[in-house]
């Protein structure tokens, strides 16, 4: 690995993976950046999962940040899904209904990007066909 590659990897690890602050960096400013990234992520997940975020009210950004602090971002769809799953029985009912709706349309193994379910895909095809006939 080149110097640049390892230095960049160490920085990303400190910002999103719970890694140590690399030598020579300003700790206060890196922490401010880390917090800003988490605020931005919480907002993006709230857009993708409005009921999930709403069910935590004003504590959503802090609740999400506490969970996401050492988990690198996987995109807002997966981040919200992973958060909801990890909440288990503690997941509020509003959020649970949103998760169920997603699970009807998409299958997600927690490792690779969610994929549209066969039945949901067929339903969409049928609706295209109906529109095409009109």
């Amino acid at each position: 690995m080149s110097d640049l590659a390892s230095q960049q990897a160490a920085l990303v690890s400190a910002l999103v993976g719970g890694g140590d602050v690399p030598v020579g960096f300003d700790e206060f400013r890196l922490e401010a950046t880390r917090a800003a990234l988490l605020r931005k992520r919480a907002g993006e997940v709230a857009s993708a999962w409005p009921l999930l975020a709403a069910s935590y009210g004003t504590s959503w950004p802090a609740t999400f940040a506490a969970w996401a602090g050492t988990r690198p971002p996987n995109g807002s769809l997966r981040d919200g899904w992973d958060f909801a799953r990890s909440a288990g029985d503690a997941l509020p009912s509003l959020a649970r209904s949103e998760l169920s709706a997603r699970q009807r349309e998409l299958s997600y193994d927690g490792k690779s990007p969610p994929r549209r379910k066969r039945r949901a895909a067929l339903r969409q095809l049928a609706s295209f066909a109906t529109r095409a006939r009109k």
Binding site: S6, V12, S13, A32, T33, L37
Partner: protein
Amino acid sequence: MAEAAAVAETQPAVGIGWRPEIAGFVSALPGLRFTEVAAESSISDSLVDLRARGVQVVPHGVRLSLGGADPVDPLRVAALASCARRLEAPLVSEHIAFVRAGGREAGHLLPLPRTWEAVDAMVRNVKRTQAALDGAELALEPIAALFDWPSCELTEAQFITEILDRTGAKLLLDVANVYANARNRGTSPLQLLDELPLERIAYVHVAGGAEHDGLYHDTHTDPTPPEVLDLVSELCARCTPPALMLERDGHYPPADVLRKELDAVADAAGLERIT
């Protein structure tokens, strides 16, 4: 191919970044001649309509990680090129930054160390990208960051100029980033303007931000502060940028407030209002 001036073929113009949430507002602007769209988003009917009206749309990428030590992902480059083709865009833009390393996504644009090694990595990836763009020009945007790398071999102006010189890329100058970095470093934004190759500007970004814990954050979700508008005037006293556009990425204000902000940008640049 139309020249880089393609953003504004005749007179310099003011625009606003197209976002799904404000698509109706953007479409309804009577004087709109150019806008910018996230290169990763799908091309909506609203954008197709704008193109039909002759509004130029610039694809703006945020995920290429051009400053990453690793080679840029050819699939991401191909997607950017395809977006440019579909929008008939003679110009696309990306950042002087990296967004992933060591197999992890940062989810955000991160600054590069201002070293020769980073210049070389950036130049390699920019050239790979340019080769795939079918002649569309690439403009590079220096980012705002809350921190700097510990050891730097070049000043910010030297770093940016070196990358532009070695790639022939244009400059997408974000005045709000210039302001944010200068404020957070305690340096002069005017000095940076005086040191940058302003004649290479393809277009200019303007955006709002807010202060948290003593640091200024370039949020794009707050109003544009007067200091950034003053910097727009300072820039336009030094050069004639082909176009300037407002970036707003959330907490959208009511339409009349957004119109006033666009008017303020036009006034600060000495350009015609588009509202």
